[in-house]
Amino acid sequence: MDAKNLKVVNKPVAKMDAMGLACGEPAFTDDVEIKGLLCGKILWSPHAHARIKKIDTDAALKVPGVKAVLTYKDLPRVPHTTAGQGYPEPSPYDTYTLDNKVRYVGDRVAAVAAETQEAAQEAISKIKVEYELLPAVFDTFEAMKEGAPVIHDEEDSKNIPDAKHNIAAKFDFEVRNGDWFKEADHVFEHSWKIPYLQHCAIEPHVTIAYFDNAGRLVLRTSTQVPFHVRRIVAQALKIPVKNIRVIKPRIGGGFGSKQEVLEDIVAALALKAGRPVKLEYTRKETFISSRTRHPATCRMKAGVKKDGTITDAEMEITLNTGAYGSHALTVMMCSGSHTIPMYRVKNNIKFIGRSVYTNMPVAGAYRGYGATQGFFAWECLMDMMAAKIGMDPVVFRKMNYIKLGEGSPVFKAMGEGREGVEQVITSTGLFEAIQKGMDEIKWAEKKAKYASQTGPIRRGVGVACMMQGSGIPEVDMACATMKMNEDGSFNLLVGAADLGTGSDTILAQIAAEVLGIKADDIVVTSSDTDITPFDVGAYASSTTFISGGAVKKTAEKVRDMIIEVGAKILDKKKEELRLADGKVVAADGASCPLSEVANTSLYYYNQHQITASASHFAHTSPPPFQANFAEVEVDTETGQIKILDYVSCVDCGTAINPQLAQGQNDGAVVNGISHTLSEEMEFSSNGTPLNASFRRYKILSAADTPPVRSFIIPTWEPAGPFGAKSVSEIGINGPLPAVANAVYSATGVWLFEAPFTPDKVLKAIKKAR
C-alpha cells in the first residue's frame, strides 16, 4: 500500500487554526475576559527540605482584596500523582495539593486569591511560616544510600517501591543466553549524563477556574490532558467528576510539561473564594515549579565481535525524578524499551532502571520521554564500537538495526506500568532514511575530506539512528464523534488535545479522506470534557496513531450511514456506492450531493441525524524510525562547536500532512540541538535554581539555529490510519549522539555530558591530549 491515491491525506492542507493565531485572535486560555476574576498566587518553598511547624495566615487574610488563603490545613489530604496518565496511573501517589512538608525549593507552601496581583503578592509575603529544616539530598546516588534523608517519609503515600532509599521506581530485566561477554572481542563501558532541562513552551502554565450557571467548576486550562485533569482534580479535591468541566482552548506549546495536572490548586482557590480565579505561572515559576526532563546517568556496557555482531548489551539508567515521582516509572521504562530494541543483540540483554527522589525540581514528561536519555548513550556507544572494529558507523548500524518482521524480547518485557506487548516491526524506512541522509550530508565525500586535517579548527560528520513508539499499546484509547450538517459539512468532536501540533487539522484530513470531501468541510472541536468524547490526551506520540484511528473508524461509520441514505435517494444497492467529491456516487455515474443526503436524513427519510462515535486502541505501538546526520566544526582552542549542517530523515509511515510533519520534526530536532549546545538548569549547593529565565537558560534563537533539513521517508504502516505512524517526539533524540559522534570524528574526543558547552568541550579535548 502507499499514499499515491489519497486525495486529502498526505497533502499539505493549511493548519485550520493558523490564520486566527497569525492574526492574534483571542484563542488562548488567558485571552478571555471573565467578570470578577481573582488573581491566584502561590507561596513557594525557599527550602529544599523542611517541615512546616507553624503557618500563620492572619496577616495575609487582612490584606485588602484578599478572598482566599489556603494551607494544607484547609484541604483534604489525598495522595495522588500529578502525572496526567491513564487510570490507574503507574506513577506513585506521593503528592498532596498542599502538604505540611516541602521537598524542594519551589514546592507549594500556600496559595492566595485576591482582587489584584499586587494584593495577592502582598498577601503571599505576609504568610508567616516556621520551618523545621531537614537535611536535603540532591544527588541520586547519595539519595539511594543507607541513612540518606528520606524525602517521602509520610505513611499515606502509595506505590513507592522503596521510600526509605528514595526509590520512586525500579525495574530490572535480563535476557540470558550464555555467559555475559563470552563471545565479545571488545567490551565497552561508559556513562552518559543529561542535566535538568525545561520544556520552555512559550505560553506559561495558565488556568482560569470559574463556575457555570449551575455552579459547576469550569477549568479553562492550558493542558495536554483535559480528561486526566478532570479525573485527577476530582480525586485530589474530593469532588465528583460530574461537577467539573475542563476546556482546552488553543495551547501555547506543551512538549510534555502540560501533561501534568497542576490545576488542583487553582480549583481549590476558586472553590474557597466562590469566585473565578486565574493562576498564571511566571516564567521563573514555570522553570522551577512546573516540570522538567528527568536528569539521567545512563551507564552502558556492550560487547562486539570483530565482524560487527553485537554480543551483549547492558543499560543501567538512574533518573532523577526530583521531589515527586511524576512519570518516574514510565520515563525510565521508555529509556530502555524505545532504545534497546533498536539493534539486534545476539546473546545477553540487561536493563537496570532506578528513578530516584531528590530535593530538586520535579521531573515529568518531556518530548522523547526517556528515549532521549537512552539514545544518547546507545548511539554514542555504537560509534565507539564501530571505531574499535574499524567499521564505518553507518555500515555497522545497517548491519545491526531491527529489520522488518523482527521483534525484540524487550517489547514484551518492558511496558509502561504493566507488561509490554509482543510486536514485530511492520513498517520501516530506516534503510532509505540512512541512504537519503548520507546523500544529503555527503557522508563518504566528507569522511574522506576530513580524514586528514591540521590546525585548530576541525570538521567532522556523525550519525545517529532512533526509534520511538506510536502511543502506548493496550493503554491509550481515543474516541471521536461526527455529525453531519445540512450543507454536507461535518462536526468532528475529538478529545484529542491539539497543543499546537496541528492534530485538529490532520484528524480532519483523515475524516475527509474517508468521506470524499475537503478537509475544510469539517469543523473540528477539540477537547472540552462536556462536549467531546474521551481521549487520553496528547502524549506518548499517540494522537495520529490512536486518535487518528478513532477518527477513521468514526468516519467509516458515518460513511456507511450516508451510503444507506444515498442508496435510497439514488435507488441503488449500497455495494455500488462510494463517496467522492462531496457526493454519493454510483458505479454507473449517478450521484447525489452530500447536502441532499443530509437533508433527506434530517427531514424526510427515516428521519435521523447522521452521527457516529468510535473508539480506538491498539495492540502494538509501531515505531517510527530516523537517521540523523550532523556536520560540525570544532574550534579545539575555544571548545566552540558549530553545526554546519544537520539532516534528519524520518520514517513516520504516511505523513498525514507532510508540511505539519516536517514542522514537528524540525521543532523536535532544534529542541534537541538546543539541549546539545546550550541548555542546562543550574543550582546552588542548597538546591536553589540559578538560571530560571530565558535570559540565562538559553534556548536557541533563529540566529543561533544551524541549518536543519528534515526529509520525510514515506512508508506504510498497516496498523495506522492510512499507513501513518507517529512523528512528534522522535526527532529530539538525535542531536546529542549525532553531534557527539561528529565531534569525535572531528577531534577524536568523546563527549559524555550534555550540554556540549565550549568550556566542557575544551576540557574534554585537553584531557584527551
Binding site: E118, P456, E637, T638, G639, Q640, L677, S678, R695, R696, K698, L700, S701, A703, D704, P755, T757, P758, D759, L762, K763, K766
Partner: protein, 271 residues
C-alpha cells in the same frame, strides 16, 4: 515603577538636566529602559523619558566619531560611520548584543550609565580610549570613559547628570580591531568573556596595542603585561602566555584564560 508620580518627556538636554536637578521630581532618566525599567529604584518618583531629547545622532566631528548616547544598538549596528570605523568593530559589537528587540531599544548611553557584566560596549569603549560627554549641574563636560565607568567620578548618570555623547577619538579610525564574544550561543545575553584586541602597525613593529577584557565583572580591564609583550614584538605565543597569566591573576578561571589566550594568539598572528 510603582512609586512613579510623574512622567516627563523633555525635548532638550537642558530641560532634561533641569528636571533631574529639581529636587521636587526625584527623577531618573531612561532611554531604552531595558536595564532598569523593571527595577527602578523605589526612591524615584519621576520617570524621565529622553525619547525626544536630540541625542541620537551618529556623526563625525573634529575627526572624532561622536555617537549620541540615545543611539540604539540597532542604530550603531546599521550606521555606515560606525561600520567604517576601526574595521567596524563598534557595529560588530552592537550586533552581538542579545536580540534584535533589545537592540531596537537599548542605547549605548544606557550601557555606559549602568555597569553590568553582560554589557557589550564597555570593553570596546575601553579599548578605543573613548570619552563620554555628559551634562550635569556644572554644565557639559568630557570625561574619560574609563574614569567614569570604573570610579563614577562622583556622578550618578541618569540621576544627577545626563550622558549625551560617546566620543571615539580619531586616532582609532584605522586601527585593526577585533571584538570577540565567547558565549554559549551567538545570541546569549551573557558571555564567558568578551575581548577587544586592537593594533596599529608602524613599519615592521606596532605603534600601539590594546588588549581589553570584559564580562568577568561589570568593569572591563586592560591587560598591560600582555600589551607590553605584544609591543615588544615577542610574537603571538609569548603574548598568549602573558595573557593567560594575566587572566589567571584576574581569576578568569582555566577555561576563559585558555580560550582567550588562544584567540589573542590568533589575533596577534593575523596582524
Amino acid at each position: 515603577m510603582k512609586n512613579i508620580k510623574y512622567y516627563a518627556f523633555p525635548s532638550t538636554t537642558k530641560e532634561a538636566v533641569a528636571l533631574l536637578l529639581n529636587k521636587r521630581y526625584k527623577a531618573m532618566a531612561l532611554a531604552g529602559g531595558t536595564l532598569v525599567a523593571k527595577t527602578l529604584p523605589e526612591t524615584v518618583e519621576t520617570y524621565l523619558d529622553i525619547k525626544n531629547v536630540p541625542i541620537k545622532n551618529i556623526k563625525l566631528q573634529g575627526g572624532n566619531l561622536v555617537i549620541g548616547a540615545g543611539a540604539t544598538f540597532n542604530d550603531i549596528d546599521l550606521s555606515k560611520l560606525c561600520r567604517g570605523w576601526a574595521g567596524g568593530v563598534i557595529s560588530a559589537a552592537a550586533a552581538k548584543c542579545s536580540s534584535q528587540l533589545i537592540r531596537n531599544m537599548a542605547t549605548i548611553g544606557g550601557n555606559v550609565a549602568r555597569p553590568h557584566s553582560f554589557n557589550i560596549f564597555p570593553v570596546v569603549l575601553l579599548g578605543l580610549d573613548a570619552k563620554v560627554r555628559l551634562s550635569s549641574r556644572s554644565g557639559a563636560r568630557l570625561v574619560d570613559f574609563q574614569d567614569l565607568y570604573s570610579s563614577g567620578l562622583g556622578l550618578r548618570p541618569g540621576l544627577d547628570s545626563l550622558i549625551t555623547e560617546i566620543v571615539i577619538p580619531g586616532k582609532t579610525r584605522k586601527w585593526k580591531c577585533e571584538f570577540v564574544k565567547l558565549a554559549k550561543t551567538e545570541s546569549s545575553w551573557e558571555s564567558y568573556i568578551t575581548l577587544f584586541f586592537s593594533a596599529e602597525k608602524k613599519g615592521k613593529g606596532l605603534a600601539q596595542v590594546r588588549v581589553a577584557v570584559g564580562a568577568l565583572s561589570p568593569k572591563p580591564f586592560r591587560a598591560p603585561e600582555t600589551e607590553k609583550v605584544l609591543l615588544s614584538g615577542a610574537g603571538p605565543v609569548a603574548a598568549a602566555t602573558a595573557f593567560a597569566a594575566e587572566l589567571d591573576a584576574a581569576r578568569a578561571g582555566e577555561y576563559r584564560a585558555s580560550a582567550a589566550a588562544s584567540l589573542l594568539k590568533r589575533f596577534a598572528g593575523s596582524i
